[in-house]
């Protein structure tokens, strides 16, 4: 250790400090979102090559349908891990480096956080407003900020209840029409068999709780001028929180098996879970539960009958094809994205090859979804349940640029609800107190208005 003299330490320190000063200037963010200027379409005769980064399976097959018709615009699909599992990290790194694809799959709730990283192109400037009427209105609302649209809705997840009529009949119940009935049914199911639950309530994945709050009529975040107004403790949210506090404290919902986890699938196969309220895309996943073939049916989700401002359904999940800021061909990229999400050909290909969620187009749900499915006993639940559900949505719900942090923070608090440490009512209130600080840490301004 004697070789490390005081002088060499000082020199090291000086070098380090110089390095710090140099590096402190390198930020992780690019410029502010571009709101002016457009890139003109490519000249005729030029072949435009686009890249679409997404985690949809077999997306290239969908692109090939398009590529065969449009030799002038060739789209290549590049697979990335789903959302926060790695895909967003790749995209954010590409944005920071000023490169990346023309189009990227971004979940509806993450569009604002991409906006915060200056990663998106304002699609209104390239003609999205002319086709916006072809999409479900609630979806267009969710991608609209600052008087412009920032992504093309690609799929959504209107919610409904998948249930086992045989298990519910055992306690003399049908699919619950209201949340009050749901609670009664949950009590009856669990009382009849302590190893069976009506549903699992995911404490870790709070997107479900947010969807319920949105159904109840809550609007947690509202942009106003240049700041965010926060209201997470309105009557609707508190009613939802109280409702699930009751269910959790009585033990009539399962909180240890999160929906779609391996243990949950095993429980569904054994008949220990009688129902699942989830997005429309849950059907394909549910079909993976061995031993449940033909046993499930689909019904509209329960409603909050005592909340006047509530809605018939809610959205859980859903994603967009977002135009990335680095794209050199936004016109062509938007043209492809519009074809993919509104033309019957594009929608059918997306359903057939990529198994997308609910089609965002108002007029066409997809050929395959007009028929019954064997797994669900031939019930034509697409037209019967989900198509109406897609129209019964809370149009005012807005995702903030800190959606992930709000959901994660709430999830960390909800986990202690299970151990009896707190209640969801208190957890939501505590989270509301933290939200302004989270906004501030992002360099944004916000205010609680509840």
């Amino acid at each position: 250790m004697t070789t490390l003299s005081r002088r060499s330490l000082l020199r090291g320190g000086a070098l380090g400090a110089a390095g710090l000063a140099g590096l402190a200037g390198c930020g992780t963010v690019g410029a502010a979102p571009t709101t002016t200027g457009t890139i003109p379409p490519a000249a005729s005769g030029e072949v435009v090559r686009l890249q679409y980064w997404a985690w949809l399976k077999d997306l290239q097959q969908v692109c090939d349908v398009w590529n065969a018709q449009r030799p002038d615009i060739q789209v290549e699909a590049v697979w990335i891990p789903g959302g926060n599992a790695g895909g967003y990290q790749k995209l954010f790194a590409a944005i920071a480096a000023g490169s990346g694809p023309d189009l990227a799959q971004v979940e509806m709730r993450n569009v604002p956080s991409f906006l915060l990283q200056s990663g998106l192109v304002d699609v209104s400037r390239y003609g999205f407003d002319q086709v916006a009427g072809q999409y479900d209105r609630a979806l267009v609302e969710q991608v609209s900020f600052l008087d412009a649209a920032w992504a093309v809705p690609q799929d959504s997840g209107p919610m409904a209840t998948f249930y086992r009529p045989d298990l519910l009949e055992e306690v003399g119940a049908g699919p619950p029409a209201t949340w009050a009935e749901w609670l009664e049914t949950a009590r009856a199911v669990h009382a009849a068999d302590p190893n069976r639950w009506l549903e699992s309530f995911p404490v870790g994945d709070t997107s479900v709780f947010l969807a319920y709050a949105s159904q109840a009529g809550a609007v947690w975040f509202t942009p106003e001028d240049d700041r965010w107004l926060v209201n997470m403790t309105d009557d609707a949210t508190m009613a939802v929180a109280r409702h699930f506090d009751t269910a959790v404290s009585e033990g009539v919902v399962n909180t240890s098996l999160a929906p779609y986890s391996p243990g949950w699938f095993a429980a569904v196969g054994d008949g220990r879970i009688a129902a699942l309220t989830s997005g429309s895309w849950g059907d394909a996943l549910l079909e993976g539960a061995t031993g449940a073939e033909g046993l499930f049916r689909v019904a509209p989700m329960p409603v909050w009958s005592d909340l006047p401002g509530s809605y018939g359904s809610s959205y859980l999940g859903g994603s967009t094809a977002a135009l990335m800021a680095g794209s050199e061909h936004p016109y062509e990229a938007l043209e492809f994205a519009t074809w993919m999400t509104t033309s019957p050909e594009g929608i059918d290909a997306m359903i057939r090859y990529s198994g997308i969620g609910w089609s965002p187009a108002t007029d066409y749900i997809g050929a395959a979804r007009q028929e019954g499915s064997e797994f669900f006993g031939g019930q034509a639940y697409g037209t019967e349940v989900f198509a109406p559900a897609a129209q019964e949505q809370n149009l005012d719900w807005t995702w903030p640029p800190i959606a992930q942090q709000v959901m994660d923070g709430l999830g960390d608090r909800f986990r202690t609800v299970v151990t009896g440490g707190t209640t969801m009512v208190d957890a939501v209130a505590a989270m509301e107190g933290d939200v302004v600080e989270i906004f501030r840490e992002k360099g944004l301004s916000a205010e609680v208005v509840s």
Binding site: G16, G19, L20, G22, L23, A24, G25, C26, G27, T28, V29, A31, A32, P33, T35, N84, Y88, Q89, F92, P112, S113, L115, L116, Q117, S118, F145, L146, P202, V203, G204, P223, D226, R227, W228, T255, S256, L257, A258, S261, P262, G263, A266, A267, D270, R272, P401, I402, Q404, Q405, D408, G411, D412, R415, T416, V418, T419, E441, K442, G443, L444
Partner: protein, 327 residues
Amino acid sequence: MSAPTAARSAARGPDGRGPGGVGATTPARGRGRSSAVRRAPWMLMAPFLVIFTLSFLLPIVYAVGQSFTRVERSGLFGEDGTTSGFGGLANYRQALEGTAFVESVGRVLLFGVVQVTVMIVLATVLALLLESASARWPGAFRTIYFLPYGIPGVIATILWSFLYVPGLSPVVDVAGLLGIDVDFLGPSTVLWSIANIVTWAYAGYNMLIIVAQLKSIPGDLYEAARVDGAGPLRIAWSLQLPLIRPALLLAIVFSIIGTLQLFAEPQVLQSVSTAISNEYTPNLAAYNSAFNNNDYGVAAAQSVLIALAAFVLSGLFLALTNRKDRS
């Protein structure tokens, strides 16, 4: 031996200095050679130094720089201007103010005290048994004990998760048949389920470090001990244990650092256990800050804090054990 040597010196020909080069440059020889001698180690080290600087030193400097960087925005999304600049200790304050991060440090410390102790004792006992005179097939058992270390942590955790998840796990099923209700993934148990995986994976590795040290004990020491009438237990206690002390210290320091960096196991188990939060361990918290919250400054601050903690804890441990040595 001489043929390859000759071939090698002949091969030096084309590089310009040639076999006769040394003789030809006699006048300048003294100075030229000494500067070449001075340069040689640097040239030989250059490949290492370049990679070391690019992949190790610069990222550290960059991370430390990031930890002092804050972003300011105006407008709803920063559309009216975004700047990033020096933020002082704001990121560190934010990291330490969040109770979850501090709790996660406490959690891994508790984990370390219990798990490292259990694992090192287990590894020592296994090593002593394998190196004892009465051991059968020590080579085969050494391989078997070491085998889990060859399985990547993520795969190991997925494998173990199938033994933990109720409905899939035969262990839970059998316990249920016996009337015991076990929950490996609950809020109070999941930390020890992780400890079990880590112990399973690394006990064999630490055992190997200790075995290597045991093998270096000269045979005559054993002989002398036996002549003095020491039995196997006495040999283990008074001869082997004191002599494997350096290996034990090494294993413990590695384990302390490894414990602070606990990441893969809780991250994978998160998908089956609702009890694991996004900030369950310090590394998970840093990952969450960077990749879920896009807050690289705070993530960098958290990483620097983790590195400092590992540094301080390892240093403290070594200082304590060294002082004991001297006394």
